[in-house]
Symmetry: C2
Subunit: 298 residues, 2 copies
């Protein structure tokens, strides 16, 4: 048994990183790094110590939680100037909660393993609200020793912790399939609501009937009402950025192509998110994809 972690570093206080950091601060001494001042201040007001660089945040931490957006941010945070790599010592654990794809997770694990650092591949799903209450789905790829060392942190973040396999990358594989379904279901909800509107039905009435039966999905129930609201003036609240799906559909289509498995719906959804990004919606809530199919002004 490894000793229980006392000190946790969180790198990245974005939509997921901030609620994860404040959640972890309920049980551990948390030091975080975040380049955007405003978000760092928010965390500081909720029991999180902030640091000037990832290296400073990771200094003395038992577990370093990476909650950055993508592979490029992760490379910079770990191996760039002022990166985690400068201060982390052998035997400590790095937990990758970002969706970066299996290849990137394997690569970072190989590089850190050379330094004797343990790596837990643990992408999360569930959104900011569940992140703040420790109710995430965590899909894990990690060797037993690394998993044991990170377990208290994982259990504090997730209500469901599924160990997919013993290797970093295994969690990313299942997370990518999760995102395939999530991305397709959001796009399908958009098609249904745009079509209801296009043929003259009241989208809200149609949505209520559709969610009652065999057409239902978590995403239809979650994003559907926000898609209807997009036609009623909308809201500026961003629960999940649309360009997250540009990134994630790229990960899953690459993975599927290399496995020689056709995913025609996944690719159609990917194209739709790319069109939406080109329409200027990358930083908007992903529910706004509906306006690409049926513009709000019409």
């Amino acid at each position: 048994m490894s000793r229980d972690p006392q000190r946790v570093a969180v790198i990245g206080l974005g939509a997921m990183g901030l609620p994860m950091a404040t959640r972890l601060a309920e049980a551990f001494a948390v030091t975080a790094y975040e380049p955007v001042d405003e978000r760092a201040k928010q965390a500081a007001g909720q029991g999180v110590t902030t640091a000037g660089t990832p290296a400073e945040a990771a200094l003395g931490a038992d577990v370093v939680v990476l909650a950055v957006r993508d592979q490029a941010q992760l490379e910079a945070a770990v191996f760039g100037p002022g990166g985690v790599d400068e201060t982390i010592v052998a035997g400590r654990v790095v937990v990758v909660t970002s969706t970066i794809g299996p290849d990137a997770a394997r690569e970072v694990a190989t590089r850190l393993d050379q330094r004797g650092v343990l790596v837990v591949d643990a992408p999360v799903s569930g959104g900011p609200v569940r992140a703040g209450s420790g109710d995430l789905l965590v899909v894990v790829g990690a060797a037993p020793e690394a998993l044991a060392a990170a377990r208290p942190v994982l259990d504090h973040l997730g209500s469901t912790v599924t160990v997919v396999g013993p290797n970093p990358g295994d969690g990313q594989v299942l997370k990518a399939i999760n995102q395939l379904l999530a991305g397709v279901h959001i796009a399908a909800a958009a098609e249904a609501i745009a079509l209801a509107r296009g043929v003259g039905l009241d989208p809200r009435t149609a949505l209520a009937a559709l969610t009652a039966g065999a057409a239902s999905s978590f995403m239809l129930g979650d994003r559907g009402p926000r898609m209807v609201e997009a036609y009623e003036g909308g809201t500026d609240e961003i629960k999940s950025r649309l360009d997250i799906f540009v990134k994630d559909m790229d990960i899953v289509t690459s993975m599927a192509a290399r496995a020689h498995v056709p995913i025609p719906l996944g690719v159609a959804a990917q194209q739709l998110y790319l069109v939406a990004e080109r329409a200027g919606l990358g930083a908007s809530d992903d529910s706004t994809v509906v306006t690409v199919l049926s513009p709000a002004g019409e």
Copy 2:
């Protein structure tokens, strides 16, 4: 108020028609027509009187329930030789429970209206088991007088009866959107399970994790286990024929094109069902679409 119906005719005893007929026989005197002897005999054993033609079944019926597969079968059953049209009289009600598309529903309503026959457009959703227990979702397009005359029959078939609009075709529009989502969700579940298998995950473990979170859908939970079983020898049981989605995706893509609403995922799903049909799976359970993406023998 119209008088309550006493005698009900059911035309077509297929996957949905047979359980609907036996369900209705609990409350009404039911006479049915079905060309396949074996299915007619099954109905006869469960309190349904059988007739030699649709005209004979409809003779004296207060409400005629059409439960045929598609527009061609409906045309033949109503207007062909020995069709309902030969015996039905003014003031009686025809209920269209089949998914035939809004245009076909409007056309049959127009022709029957000229004879003073009321038409209720009432496509159903939910599958054979729920049909047998009166637990269907029924989406209705009908004028108030027609709706009132059919109401006791509709209420006996459905636990949710949603009146979409006053015109035949209105129910078909919402049902088509329901099928857009259902067809896309089944195809997405197939992609997820084929991909899990393709990258070496255990499909059953992956499915359990995926249904726990944001990737879940009714179809993933319902068809997912049957897709996994398709790789374990499978079952011959057909809950819903695959070629139903070939028909329904054609209805919805036509409807969307005429409304000038792009449905790229709907079209991708349509193509996948066509490929599956070409692979000889038209009469198989729709969950077998997974084997097109990842053949069972590999």
